[in-house]
Subunit: 162 residues, 4 copies
């Protein structure tokens, strides 16, 4: 059992750009690379669960994420996720007991020179280590929000407390 389980589900954070198609697609998860650049020595297990835009996630996808979280031996769980439906996935996980869960995504792909991915992953890592009791949080825009008191403001392209 690792100290922290990292589940990747896709989203902007993992987006690549394919010139041949003139489009982006979700690629290999960048999590391992971000942890290497961060010189992380934390004991982690990484599971690439799916590669989807969060607008494409179905109820079945969310049920699968919940099943994997529930079954995990780790108590501390970090989930990378598209930003558009992150709060919906959080709602689907809210009755799972005994877990410290932090969800994060990125507003610019991690492969960009200027991305919020590394900072957000750092926030999520600290959240599951420092939280005094089980709970769920969303780490975006410099802020650790309780997962049931935040929404994405698409106009401003930013997460705000509710």
């Amino acid at each position: 059992m690792a100290d922290i389980l990292i589940l990747t589900t896709g989203g902007t954070i993992d987006k690549l750009y394919f010139d041949a198609l003139s489009e982006y697609q979700i690629g290999d998860s960048v999590v391992a690379r971000l942890l290497a650049v961060a010189r992380s020595a934390a004991d982690v297990r990484v599971v690439e669960l799916m590669r989807k835009d969060s607008l494409e996630l179905t109820d079945a996808d969310r049920a699968l994420i919940a099943d994997v979280v529930r079954a995990a031996p780790e108590e501390r769980i970090v989930i990378t996720h598209g930003t558009d439906t992150m709060t919906q996935t959080a709602a689907a996980l809210k009755d799972i007991p005994g877990k410290r869960i932090a969800l994060l995504g990125a507003l610019a792909p991690a492969r960009f020179a200027e991305s919020d991915a590394a900072f957000n992953l750092g926030m999520a890592f600290a959240t599951v280590q420092v939280a005094p009791a089980p709970g769920m949080w969303i780490a975006m825009n410099g802020t650790v929000f309780p997962a049931d008191r935040v929404r994405k403001d698409r106009e401003r392209n930013s997460f705000v407390a509710v």
Copy 2:
């Protein structure tokens, strides 16, 4: 009063490279730029307190840092610091009551394409937001350490629990 006070003291995280001198020097703090890239909407106050390699910090410097922390209206305080004497500065701050303090640095300058600075700053930001009570932590190498139970292993160039 801001939600979070950020004190910068220098260290590798802020190092520039001057070709004309063929040497590194500590430049303007990169904190504001890291927060912009992170698209942080957190309410912060940034104070550039000093620009020193942490091996050059004196007792008087540490007393000044402690005075600024003690006098700050903010309860949540993030300090960027050179890595070599980060634990000494933490020791100098340990009797200050009522503060959630997170120290961080970087093992590679933030201006490098591959630096741990953004991730570590993210960890420190989350730590002071999530900590349930006053205390002091060091956020390095993917880990949030209690500040009195960590040391830098210079051989391995990594922070380890003690």
Copy 3:
């Protein structure tokens, strides 16, 4: 009159990513920023002519590019362009006398941490400075091709000599 005229027409090199729309769009030209990072002291004039995917360029667009090139007081001209129809635009410019012209694009947006944009722009800059006589070249994939002896191999996503 500057030494080098830079015309920007759009293409992958200038692509931004908008999370709010989950799509890429062509943004402000990155040329000025690339030249600043390159610490270029060359005497240039930059004209942002259009912002189009090269698949969307019309005959009228190409006629406009040709008109601007023909009318330019500068003899040395660098053109940033989408990669898919770069050779078509070159064909539309081939009868303009007295100009050293280098076209370039990028297979990954310049805003990515890993992009061929800076290298290609460097090749184009050198080409118009070093060419012994008027002519036209395409600078891509580490190679300066005569503009009428190259094609983009979309399968391999690479320019190859023909």
Copy 4:
């Protein structure tokens, strides 16, 4: 025989930063990585000849560089070099017949997020491909200088024509 021989000799372009020592050192050459990011398909041979600050290069070092250039089967030669004595090395190579040689360096390490290394390497690559006859050039600051008509202005930290 490759189309282009790349000789690396050290200098700022290859500088690493070692936090454990609080100093930089010259590391593995970044040339291979820069060419990969540039998606270069050029046929090259890379020889890591030495790893020195250019202020430390001796007459014997320059004689060695000249010997390697003279003996090379390739006619097109790119040399990465520290900036401070680049013109001296060029002077030591000036009597070698039959070669198109471009020297380049960087004013900021290639490992920085913002470095002139990729652009300068692109200029050097194009120079040896486009030059109509043997000769020697220095590719720095957005400009391809004839190697005997340029100097580094250390005050302005920039190469200027003489």
